[in-house]
Symmetry: C2
Subunit: 238 residues, 2 copies
DNA sequence: CCAAAACCTGACCAAACCGTCAACTTTTTT
DNA sequence: AAAAAAGTTGACGGTTTGGTCAGGTTTTGG
């Protein structure tokens, strides 16, 4: 509750150490939580991977649950960035394609966090805060209204906006959460950038065309590069 | 295998007991594994829920892993049933819609098993047998060839078949694995049948239209009831 | 320069875990 | 009816777990 006092908070050595160690613990935890889940992960392993003694981990975090929740909260905040693509003033084709690409990029680069979140939801969201829950709901309503407005304007089909949103979320999420299955199906190791692009553009194709989105001017949202997003262009791998 | 010998295998009381107890253990385990994951589930809890002493559980199953794998194996076998919809001789619209509906029905009725499987894959498929892995791959290849044949025949767009398949699998799976999130987004409890139908038909709409499937005769595969699946018909909730 | 604050850590604990086992009862077979 | 097989179970062992704590060192502020 200190409102007036608020010291300048200079960059002292101790503060740097604090930040560095907290981050080390979080980084190690993401990896381990993703691979083993909340119950499967042990603080001892997290400590080892962080290069810190176990007791030191408990100096920075009061409990395993606290580490876990911190990571989940950070992740949800990061996801919001991709959502900004879905803007009512934008061309629906650009907006949807932009969202799918951003979300897929996230699946590619932040696989472990995505898995952690998936794990959490599969287990019923035991550690999801009420704030996060209502945030998710608010987003759904807000973006849903945009879909409905586009439909009213004749820019896309009339579909239940929540389920469209779920399909977007689910299909992009799959490539992070179930990468082991994707790799099995494609008979490959970690997907290459190119394979990921094929996946992305396949989703873009099906979603845009499937939602009856009347495309605006440019094919690819603001970056007219190799892969076009026109619904009619075929998207295949070698 | 055994063709000649095969004793009558009469229905003795002990054999009935065996079957009943094994099933009790499996049923209890599905629930608990789904909610807590492999590491989070304890044999003590499984025993309690089965109404059996812990040592008795170990009489029927050699290890926790064995219970777990048994359930996964059963599940994969059950999933194959839905796949039979994707038949090269069928009308693509009927086939795809049929598969989606069957898969969604499964998500609705076998939520717990689906979650167990999701959990397993998220954790990298630690307990997935080599047989199951290659089975998944074989299915992908087999069904992929059908998609390609349909594309060559001009019955649907040319898309990478694996990614189409993944989108089908992922979007239907979502309603089981992430039901907690779906319920949060829709601000509801367990989804009603009707809500589930809206979800199903939304997916059908987007996939059929998005893949450029030229629909055959009837709108809904063999059951011409309330909700049509024609790509142009709007599918919305109240 | 020194007291206070922040940081570090080896050793420890109670609880929970998976799996075992010997001794028991019940059912099946001969 | 007796031997064999199948089912049942309480008690226990060895290990791992999340978390604590007392006592240490280092850094900071005055």
């Amino acid at each position: 509750m200190t409102v007036v006092e608020e010291r300048p908070k200079q960059e002292t050595r101790a503060r740097r150490v604090r930040e560095r160690n907290r981050q080390r613990i979080l980084d190690a935890s993401i990896e381990i939580f993703a691979r083993k889940g909340f119950d499967g992960a042990s603080i001892a392993e997290i400590a080892e991977r962080s290069g810190l003694p176990k007791a030191n981990v408990y100096y920075y975090f009061p409990s395993k649950e606290d580490i876990y929740s911190t990571i989940i909260d950070n992740l949800i905040a990061e996801w919001d960035a991709a959502l900004e693509h879905i803007d009512i003033d934008r061309d629906p084709a650009d907006a949807l394609a932009g969202y799918i690409r951003a979300k897929m990029e996230f699946s590619y680069k932040r696989t472990a966090q995505s898995k952690m979140f998936a794990n959490e939801i599969v287990h019923g969201g035991r550690f999801l805060s009420r704030a996060n829950r209502s945030h998710m709901r608010a987003i759904t309503i807000e973006k849903g209204k945009i879909f409905e407005a586009w439909a009213r304007a004749g820019k896309m089909d009339r579909l239940d906006p929540t389920h469209v949103f779920i399909l977007l979320w689910g299909s992009t999420q799959f490539y992070a959460d179930f990468d082991a299955m994707v790799e099995s199906m494609l008979n490959t190791g970690r997907l290459t950038r190119e394979q990921f692009n094929v996946a992305t553009e396949t989703i873009v194709h099906i979603v845009l065309k499937g939602c009856g989105v009347r495309s605006g001017a440019r094919p690819s949202a603001g970056r007219p590069n190799s892969h076009g997003s026109r619904a009619s262009r075929s998207v295949r791998s070698a």
